[in-house]
């Protein structure tokens, strides 16, 4: 369970997140959608215990992220947008390191790894340096790194980036499986049809503030639009801007 109340984060004088409030229930996949620079990544990094909020309250499984960042990290699995990890470790060395830091028992770690490595078809890459892996393979490593410890909460920032359709489908199935086990998840993506497919509810943010939230169907109905992309453009007031730019480009290209 995730609870965010009046969350604000300033970088200097600029507010990246402003008075943001939402909740994610157990067994729910919550889509955090918004244009570039809307504060999605900042919100997710706060919820993962990586950065502190300037004010407001964020709780993960009842733990305040500001007061208990290490405890929060034990319960959270975070998949960053651009995974940067130890490139001169081999894939298995990286997983062993994560297992050790997270205190996963060796037997449990072996069992879990064997299953995930097989599911993501990583067997061939286990003894290769992470730095030598392709972007998509690194993304698979990043996903496994985040779910290896069976977290209560999974936070995903563009987690499907670089995955081929087959892997994306497998990952979606894993997410649904985790959802059925009662895990709370935040899923951020710019691919709105994907959000439609995966998320139970979505929250749209712009300028660090929540502009609307609800199920995909609710939002479509409320804004009288056929799909989530149109809802998004309408609510983020990007519709007119998009038409203007498209027309200008038609004239100039």
């Amino acid at each position: 369970m995730i609870s965010v109340k009046n969350l604000t984060k300033y970088y200097g004088e600029k507010a990246a997140v402003k008075d943001l409030s939402f909740e994610v229930k157990e067994g729910e996949i919550y889509g955090l959608l918004g244009p570039n620079g809307s504060g999605k990544t900042t919100t997710m990094r706060i919820l993962s215990g990586i950065i502190e909020p300037s004010s407001g309250r964020a709780e993960v499984q009842g733990l305040n992220v500001k007061e208990h960042p290490v405890e929060v990290k034990k319960k959270v699995g975070f998949i960053p947008e651009n995974p940067k990890t130890f490139e001169s470790l081999t894939t298995i060395e990286l997983f062993n390191l994560i297992g050790s830091i997270r205190g996963i028992e060796e037997k449990k770690l072996r069992k879990k790894l064997n299953r995930l490595v097989k599911a993501f078809e990583l067997e061939e890459y286990m003894n290769q340096y992470v730095g030598s892996l392709s972007f998509g393979t690194k993304q698979k490593v990043s996903i496994i790194s985040a779910i290896l410890h069976d977290p209560e909460v999974i936070i995903m920032d563009e987690a499907m980036n670089g995955l081929d359709p087959k892997m994306a489908k497998i990952f979606r199935e894993i997410l649904f499986n985790l959802k059925n086990k009662g895990k709370s998840m935040i899923f951020s993506t710019h691919v709105l049809p994907l959000a439609e497919m995966v998320c139970d509810r979505v929250g749209m943010i712009a300028g660090g503030q929540l502009i609307t939230e609800g199920t995909v169907e609710d939002l479509k109905e409320k804004s009288h639009e056929k799909d989530l992309e149109d809802v998004f453009l309408k609510l983020t007031k990007s519709e007119t801007e998009v038409s203007r730019v498209v027309n200008a480009l038609r004239g100039s290209m």
Binding site: S88, L89, I92, S100, R102, E124, Y125
Partner: protein, 497 residues
């Protein structure tokens, strides 16, 4: 020719380098402090001036014997030792900076732009940190220019040549022994072993020179006048004609080598990493250890795989080696000599700090996602920093025991002293109140005063530990010394908790 555009690119790259280092520094609180730090660090002229002024007193200390000397032989000997400093710093700094540039990917954004980025910008970028080091030699050079103008000009030229030699050899170390990402596996392990052996042999060459210098200065003053190899040649300035020819010969060798190797380094920095192709399924070994032990193993693996970082990591060995060799050659090692070497090794062990910290520079964001306490992280770094001094100290104890069996009682020093010096240094750098982990922005060249302060702190602790050893009979002195060492270590441990 260096154009205005080149300087502009270098300034952008330098600023970027400062930004990437500062944003990982956990002691920097908030955007404002970060901006201030970047602004300060990016004012290259001010920074170079500040660094130059900082090094000047140390240059004066190095050159003092020259001011009181009335014999050419003594002036020449001092000049030789002064000339070693820019050479060593240029070599170390070049290797360390190249490794950092590579891992931070500072050149990445420029690759796709239609800008003619070439190797000369790389040297210019590195020279920002290297030029202030000239202050170490400045007092000696100015003294010579005033009282022996012709010889002074030669001395200045030798110092500059020393920079170039150190800088070029730093490039050689980086390009020939630096980390090139393979795909992993046993063949890479073999390559790593060979690279490490090659690196030690290469660094050994420098100490062979150093050793030669000591022998020649001590035993054959006349030979010094006709020295043909740097840094001894920098002391042969009182034979101007021959010395000038030697200088030209040095430049004739080093300039083509520089031009060749700078392009190799540049290509290496720009090279796209190999992407592994799917291989046969392979067995993999799953293991889960304590977090501290895993982080220590991670550091060691990364340092040994990135052999360019090894220069910094192995620096305690390189500092102590010539003195140990000389002592062994003279009369073997005594109990007090072995103890003194262990103290020295532990104190200079902190020179590996930059390598130990920078190993995580690219992955600190990843570590921040893990439930890692600052205490655990610092403890792993204390062990990483201590491991080489501990290992070498144990070898020294073994060697000392061979000459004098009672030396075996120094074994506890081999463990306690490196752990104490590492704990002092890391407790200081991670003394910010926050619990978050990060990489303190620290480099020996740019934070020289901080380094001196750390050495003083270590010196105070070691002084307290050494006092009973050197003042009381062994029977009482040694146990009392160990007791003090244990108390210091315990105090440092409590401070971390």
């Amino acid at each position: 020719m260096i154009q205005k555009k080149d300087l502009k690119i270098v300034m952008v790259l330098y600023r970027e380098l400062q930004y990437r280092a500062a944003e990982k520094d956990p002691s920097i609180e908030g955007e404002e402090e970060l901006k201030k730090k970047i602004k300060e660090a990016s004012n290259v002229k001010k920074k170079m001036l500040k660094q130059s002024l900082l090094f000047l007193p140390f240059g004066l200390m190095l050159s003092t014997p020259m001011f009181a000397a009335d014999e050419e032989g003594i002036i020449a000997a001092v000049m030789t030792s002064v000339a070693v400093v820019p050479f060593v710093f240029a070599l170390y700094n070049t290797v360390a900076q190249c490794a950092q540039l590579d891992s931070l990917g500072v050149f990445e954004p420029l690759k796709s732009l239609p800008i003619d980025v070439r190797s000369k910008q790389l040297s210019l970028l590195l020279s920002i940190d290297l030029i202030p080091l000239f202050s170490f030699a400045l007092p000696a050079v100015i003294y010579l220019l005033i009282f022996h103008p012709l010889n002074g000009i030669l001395a200045a030229l030798w110092v500059l040549t020393g920079f170039l030699i150190g800088h070029t050899l730093g490039f050689v170390v980086y390009s020939e022994f630096g980390f090139k990402l393979g795909s992993g596996g046993s063949s890479d392990l073999l390559k790593t072993v060979l690279k490490v052996a090659g690196l030690i042999a290469f660094m050994g060459l420098f100490f062979a020179w150093n050793f030669l210098q000591d022998v020649l200065i001590a035993r054959a003053d006349m030979l010094l006048r006709y020295s043909v190899v740097y840094p001894l040649s920098a002391g042969a300035i009182f034979d101007p004609v021959q010395n000038f020819i030697t200088l030209i010969l040095h430049l004739a060798l080093i300039i083509p080598l520089y031009l060749y190797v700078v392009n190799r380094v540049w290509k290496r920095l720009l090279k796209k990493k190999e992407v592994s192709i799917r291989k046969k399924k392979s067995q993999y070994h799953v293991s889960s250890k304590s977090a501290v032990r895993s982080l220590l193993m991670k550091d060691l693996k990364m340092l040994f795989r990135r052999t360019s970082s090894l220069v910094g990591f192995l620096i305690p060995i390189l500092i102590i080696l010539p003195q140990v060799v000389m002592s062994v050659q003279d009369d073997g090692l005594t109990l007090l000599q072995t103890s003194a070497f262990i103290f020295l090794l532990a104190a200079f062990g902190i020179m590996a700090l930059e390598s130990i910290l920078s190993v995580d520079s690219n992955s600190i964001d990843f570590l921040k996602t893990l439930p890692l306490k600052k205490k655990t992280y610092v403890e792993s770094k204390v062990l990483s920093l201590s491991i080489i001094p501990i290992a070498v100290s144990l070898v020294l104890v073994g060697l000392g025991t061979y000459f004098d069996p009672i030396t075996l009682i120094t074994i506890p020093y081999a463990f306690l002293l490196p752990l104490i010096s590492s704990s002092i240094v890391l407790s200081y750098l991670f003394s910010y109140e926050d619990e978050k982990i990060g990489i303190p922005d620290f480099s020996f060249v740019n934070d020289f005063l901080k380094f001196i302060l750390l050495m003083i702190l270590v010196g105070i602790a070691f002084g307290a530990i050494a006092l009973p050893l050197f003042t009381l009979p062994i029977l009482y002195g040694v146990p009392l010394s160990y007791l003090i060492a244990c108390l210091v270590l315990f105090y440092l441990y409590l401070r971390r908790n």
